[in-house]
Symmetry: C2
Subunit: 439 residues, 2 copies
């Protein structure tokens, strides 16, 4: 009752013309061997956008300059079309954060990560739909796997754009679970690196100690390649491997809130991983871990009330009720509550460091289930927020599918600044899933 994203001819899964993620690495190989030009690559993205975005609504706006950029940009990512979550400043495109407060506003400069992407050769395809200020109020984007379902959030449009083959690479951000969850719901690879590895300068801040920039692409090797270029660090997985890693299974305290069929698939996968050279042990979920889980929200909301002070003071009527109520409540959080939450987080993070002495990475669910049949909510970050709080590299590994053909992601979490190892393990797991499903 499962099928991989790549086995679309599988008769158990109806062929969905909206799902056609394109591998960034395969584009670069075709450009290298002369079978594709950068302009053709960008043109192909634009045609997919033109054909399918009216249904999916992943883009807030599409750039008129993408083809021109393709002609002039040089660098290792030349010919790669980039979709940018609309919380990153772009000098040539409006940046509205899905808020009427910023309606029609165009920044004076590109965000650092946007400028770095262009300097690396990317052509900007457009800006993608975010929830309001990357919080919870959904935008218009639909899940390309089933248009009645949420694509997840807050990086809704970026995940959907990659899944639908409208962009081979997309930028997103994660404060709770805003990269990993939409990647899981849309069946693509999502990579939230260690905190600070990709700059957040010029990105709309919600919570400065949690906000992390991340990447979406078709598979793990694709996000790893882009991350390698953008960070200047060796993160590629298409030219290396890791031997006999040990994975810690984190069945967190929220485990019972996850969809039972999803948990079954997780257990079935996990029990097969040893045959693919991966060792597995259970890791403890301590009281300190659970305390840190709860500390996340205190830290997030306390910082948000400062980060969004101007909006709250000057345009309360233009905030969604959900965000306004959150900020109303945040006014009551005391500095001492915040300090205690940070202390709890530090303590639990140090405790987890000891777990990482025995395991190379952690494996868990990416979300509580498949994408919900609703566009009124983008889902919950209960399987993501603690890892984000600890600043750890997280990867959504696509491949598993629910009975009704919705993606189910597997999350790999690495030790802080061990992003390359985490990506190598995620790549192993991705391949294991494909073989596991083809049995």
């Amino acid at each position: 009752m499962t099928s991989t994203r790549d086995s679309q001819s599988d008769d158990q899964k109806p062929d969905n013309p909206l799902i056609a993620p394109v591998s960034l690495i395969s584009i670069l190989r075709q450009i290298e061997d002369g079978s594709l030009t950068p302009e053709q690559s960008i043109q192909a993205s634009l045609e997919r956008i033109s054909a399918h975005d009216p249904a999916i609504k992943a883009f807030e706006c599409v750039s008129q300059n993408a083809l021109d950029e393709a002609k002039s940009r040089k660098g290792p990512l030349a010919g790669i079309g980039l979709a940018i979550k609309d919380v990153f400043d772009t000098q040539d495109l409006k940046t509205e954060c899905n808020s009427p407060i910023y309606h029609g506003c165009t920044p004076n400069a590109d965000a650092s990560l946007v400028a770095m992407s262009r300097a690396a050769g990317c052509s900007v395809l457009g800006k993608t739909v975010t929830t309001e200020f990357a919080f919870f109020q959904p935008g218009a984007t639909c899940n390309p796997h089933n248009l009645d379902h949420t694509p997840g959030g807050s990086s809704s449009g970026s995940a959907a754009a990659v899944a639908a083959g409208m962009a081979p690479l997309a930028l997103g951000t994660q404060t709770g679970g805003s990269v990993i969850r939409p990647a899981s719901f849309c069946g693509v690879a999502g990579f939230k690196p260690s905190a600070g590895l990709l700059p957040t300068v010029g990105m709309k801040t919600f919570s400065w100690s949690l906000d992390t920039a991340g990447l979406f692409a078709k598979g793990v090797e694709d996000v790893a390649y882009a991350a390698s270029v953008l960070t200047g660090r060796h993160m590629r997985v298409d030219d290396g491997q890791i031997s006999n890693p040990t994975l810690g299974i984190a069945r967190t305290h929220s485990w019972n809130e996850a969809n039972p069929a999803y948990r079954e698939q997780f257990e079935s996968l996990v029990s097969s991983l040893s045959t693919f050279g991966i060792n597995l042990i259970d890791i403890p979920i301590t009281d300190e871990f659970i305390a840190a889980f709860h500390a996340h929200q205190v830290i997030q909301d306390y910082e948000a009330k400062q980060a969004l002070c101007w909006e709250y003071e000057n345009h309360p009527d233009k905030l969604s009720p959900l965000l306004r109520e959150t900020l109303d409540f945040a006014q009551t959080i005391k500095p001492s509550d915040y300090d205690e939450a940070r202390m709890l987080a530090d303590y639990a993070s140090q405790q987890l460091d000891e777990v990482f002495e025995d395991v190379d990475a952690i494996i868990s669910l990416s979300a509580p289930g498949p994408a919900l049949k609703s566009l009124a909510s983008t889902g919950s970050s209960i399987f993501n927020r603690t890892w984000t709080l600890f600043g750890l590299p997280c990867i959504n590994v696509p491949g598993l599918m629910s009975e009704d053909c919705l993606p189910l992601g597997i999350q790999i979490i690495g030790p802080y600044m061990h992003d390359h190892d985490a990506l190598l393990i995620a790549d192993m797991v991705e391949k294991a899933i494909q073989r596991h499903l083809s049995r």
Copy 2:
């Protein structure tokens, strides 16, 4: 051969009409007892600006709305005019970072700290001169103590504006020594809180792990009062004290680079502090501390090349040669150099935590000497950058003066997040300086 800032009738010091810092607390007391209205307070600031800024050049622009704000704003800082370093976004005033790249640019929103200051009652007087992007290329501001001398930087205009009585409160930022040094050169209190205590959201980033927002006001009690309001934490020193603190004397590895007469005054002060109830011990300057000192620049420049990527890629010709060369060099810094620098910094910071088990705060020089007779350089941050790297609260205590009537600051450095204690000690030292000098 010395005089305090307050003893302007002292016949050893020529009366300088440009020096007339106004105490924020005294303004608030006068407003409270009905002897001053908020509008009168703002009007007085505007009149000082009008009379003296043509000579001092502290302001990039003066707000036309300050009096209107004074009429409408409520809160604990109502009636306080605020001068804002021109790296903080302001929705109603241009924000140019002293760079032609941003000539005429007005942001879409206020930076968080600006919005929070307004919400607390402040009226914005205008934007103050910064060095280019808060780096080293000077702006036009002169030191009000002697117009041929630098006011220090990068928060040049903010320090000068407070010293000249043009603003009772000013915002600045520090990446190396950009709050403490200009406060020292201009003879006012400067407070760089623990990293993260004042939000940097909406402030132009140079180096995200070092950039810290800070405050300038007449005396320690004034910056402490404003910090108390803006952070929502108890930081006031006008209603409390600390008993028999122990200060560690940090004669750092750069000590010999400091002006000898300044060092003499430092030693004379330090030897008198025990009579004011302050215990003193020498603290060791370790190899690790010196390694961290050098690590600061690696971290700063590596982050700056990312933070200023858009400017570097698109407008290299509009960067000063000094900044462009710094960014050229920064392109050669490897991620592994950066990681090592961060590791060295962490290690030295932990080592210093052990020192703080024996001392309540550290006392050192604020700068290598008095303000240099030059407007071509704002001076050096060698006495500041390591503390900034560690994220520690630093206060410039004014009071000492050189033989030629230029201020000489004393720096108090506290343990991370022990800002209130550091301020209480700085207040004690400020009072001790006044009594020390009147002997």
